[in-house]
């Protein structure tokens, strides 16, 4: 708009003040972005769960295994489209600090259950051919330097080998990527048939099942029907939607959401004070100029608009720069925290929310000085010179 040069020039009337205020705002929004990423990380990817998938664990305790034989009965339940299983292997590579999830699975049905796992066709074929083959996510592969063709030993698993060897060895035949920004690419998957055959105890058992239903709206119903199947068996089951399962997990981690919100709120309150103070000062020292603008014919609402425009501009520029900085930080911090938080990214809702907050900060910071300017009596203000 044509008033932009005037607004811009007024922001920079005191260069140092403008820079410091702007930088404070930038920092506040950078922090906001970072905290949003933390919150997304702790909510365990609840947003990324499949609407049409269920998770079945042992009813008594989620660390109890389930019989592999259940698979047929699950598959036969009306409403069930597909079934896959996985088990927690619990080992590490070389040192316990090299922590990532390893899972024995059935390649075909696991990959078709989780289309967000992107594995090239040829690598999948190689996996199907090699009993000791393993497919690893890109994140872990990059972190630990795994390449296709490597023979990788995994030790420390509670699952001991029948032949007494300490470590389980696998051939890396594939590296997978995630379809979404937040998809977990830290998992190391190998073949269940090899696992079941070579392990000393627990044959015929799996950790949990993932089930795809044909109608997501009836998910809860179908889950109950599945559990009814196993009601009086030695291993009773508890089936819930993937989302509910992830949410439950997230709830256990604690009210991270509330803590993050509380910190963000406190930070924005502070930044609001800073911005409001700057605007108030800026307007206070311009009383004479505002009066001049009014003599020139700038009506009360135009004057209000100029002040608000200045506040908005400051807040929005700060907000945008801050969110951009957040993106950079999330990338950097993500690398550092990789071991703890495999999923670490800046969610797009956070960006939208951030911009809305920036607009609000601008509005609130500018409103009081704006109204004061609006009501300024011209003659008296001019006299003050």
């Amino acid at each position: 708009m044509k008033y932009l040069p005037l607004i811009w020039k007024n922001i920079w009337r005191k260069k140092a003040r403008a820079i410091f205020t702007l930088l404070s705002i930038v920092m506040a929004f950078a922090l906001f972005g970072l905290l949003s990423a933390v919150r997304a990380a702790f909510s365990g990817g609840v947003e990324l769960t499949g609407a049409d998938r269920l998770v079945m664990v042992h009813k008594v305790s989620l660390i109890q295994p389930l019989p592999f034989s259940y698979m047929g009965r699950i598959r036969a339940t009306p409403g069930v489209e597909a079934v896959a299983h996985a088990t927690w292997f619990g080992g590490y590579y070389q040192k316990p600090e090299n922590f990532f999830g390893q899972f024995p699975v059935d390649p075909e049905n696991y990959l078709s259950m989780f289309p967000e796992i992107l594995l090239p066709e040829d690598q999948k074929r190689a996996w199907l051919k090699d009993r000791e083959g393993a497919v690893v996510g890109r994140r872990t592969a990059e972190q630990l330097g795994f390449k296709i063709g490597d023979r990788v030993p995994i030790s420390g698993s509670p699952w001991r080998r029948k032949d007494g060897k300490e470590a389980w060895e696998f051939n890396v035949v594939g590296i997978y990527d995630g379809a979404e920004k937040g998809t977990d690419t830290t998992a190391f998957m190998f073949r269940y048939d090899y696992f079941d055959e070579a392990r000393a105890r627990g044959k015929g058992l799996v950790g949990w099942y993932t089930i795809r239903v044909d109608d997501p709206d009836r998910a809860a119903e179908i889950a109950q029907a599945i559990d009814a199947n196993f009601q009086n068996s030695p291993a009773e089951t508890k089936t819930s939607t993937e989302k509910a399962f992830a949410q439950g997990w997230a709830n256990q981690i604690g009210n991270i959401g509330a803590i993050v919100e509380a910190i963000s709120a406190a930070v924005f309150f502070i930044i609001l004070l800073v911005a409001a103070n700057t605007m108030a000062q800026s307007v206070r020292e311009r009383v004479n100029e505002i009066a001049v603008l009014k003599t020139l014919g700038f009506g009360p609402f135009k004057v209000l608009g100029l002040v608000l425009g200045e506040a908005f501009f400051l807040a929005l520029v700060g907000g945008v720069l801050g969110l951009m900085l957040a993106q950079v930080l999330v990338g950097g911090v993500g690398k550092v925290l990789e071991r703890f938080l495999p999923i670490f990214y800046l969610p797009s809702e956070a960006v939208t929310t951030g911009l809305v907050i920036a607009a609000l900060v601008g509005a609130i910071a500018g409103i009081v000085p704006g109204i004061q300017s609006m009501r300024l009596p011209i003659a008296a203000a001019l006299r003050r010179g």
Binding site: K2, Y3, P5, L6, K9, N10, W12, R13, N288, E289, V292, L293, K294, T295, L296, G297, F298, G299, P300, F301, K302, P377, I378, A379, L382, G385
Partner: protein, 230 residues
Amino acid sequence: MANEPVVRVRDVYKAFRRGAEVVEVLMGLNLEIPRGEFLALMGPSGSGKSTLLNLIGGLDRPTRGAIEVGGQRIDRLSDADLSAWRARHVGFVFQMYNLLPVLTAERNVELPLLLTKLPRSERKRRVRIALSLVGLSDRLKHYPRQLSGGQEQRVGIARAIVTDPTLLLCDEPTGDLDRKSGDEVLALLTSLNRDHGKTIIMVTHDPHAAERASRVLHFDKGVLQLDSAA
């Protein structure tokens, strides 16, 4: 048409509250200003001359009475309408110049034009004309702090005339200038009045400045005293 007074002040009272007191500055003032006149208002401090200027320019409202400019009762306009009226019909020149320090000379002069619907190119054209009229075409991109007092005042005059207003109101325009710069400014005002037919009302302390006017009115305690033709 040309005989209709451009300004008509009828029975105007203006009182101010200073603390607990009420001070009456103008008491029942009557005045008519014909088009094309160069009027000087003189008198001691506090006599009400600046107050009258503000009232005629719509910067303040009379406590009682009517003010008519160009046939319009400006004392009856709302704040918003008054602002719009002012933008179109009045140009102010101040003792302290009152330029915006953050803007260049060019942009300072452009300010009143931002309130119109003129496109950018047209605005720039008029600004250049105004600045050349006051003899500052070479100082377009200078900031006020880079100009001398006399130059600042001339930018102020350019800003005041850029919308081609009905009235030019000047409050002690030479008050802060040395003799030479003051004379330049006065010459400019005289030229605007004589050659371009602008109606000018000037408040001043300086008899030397008042000499340039076609009519001089003296104020004392809110009342007009003499009516001496120049």
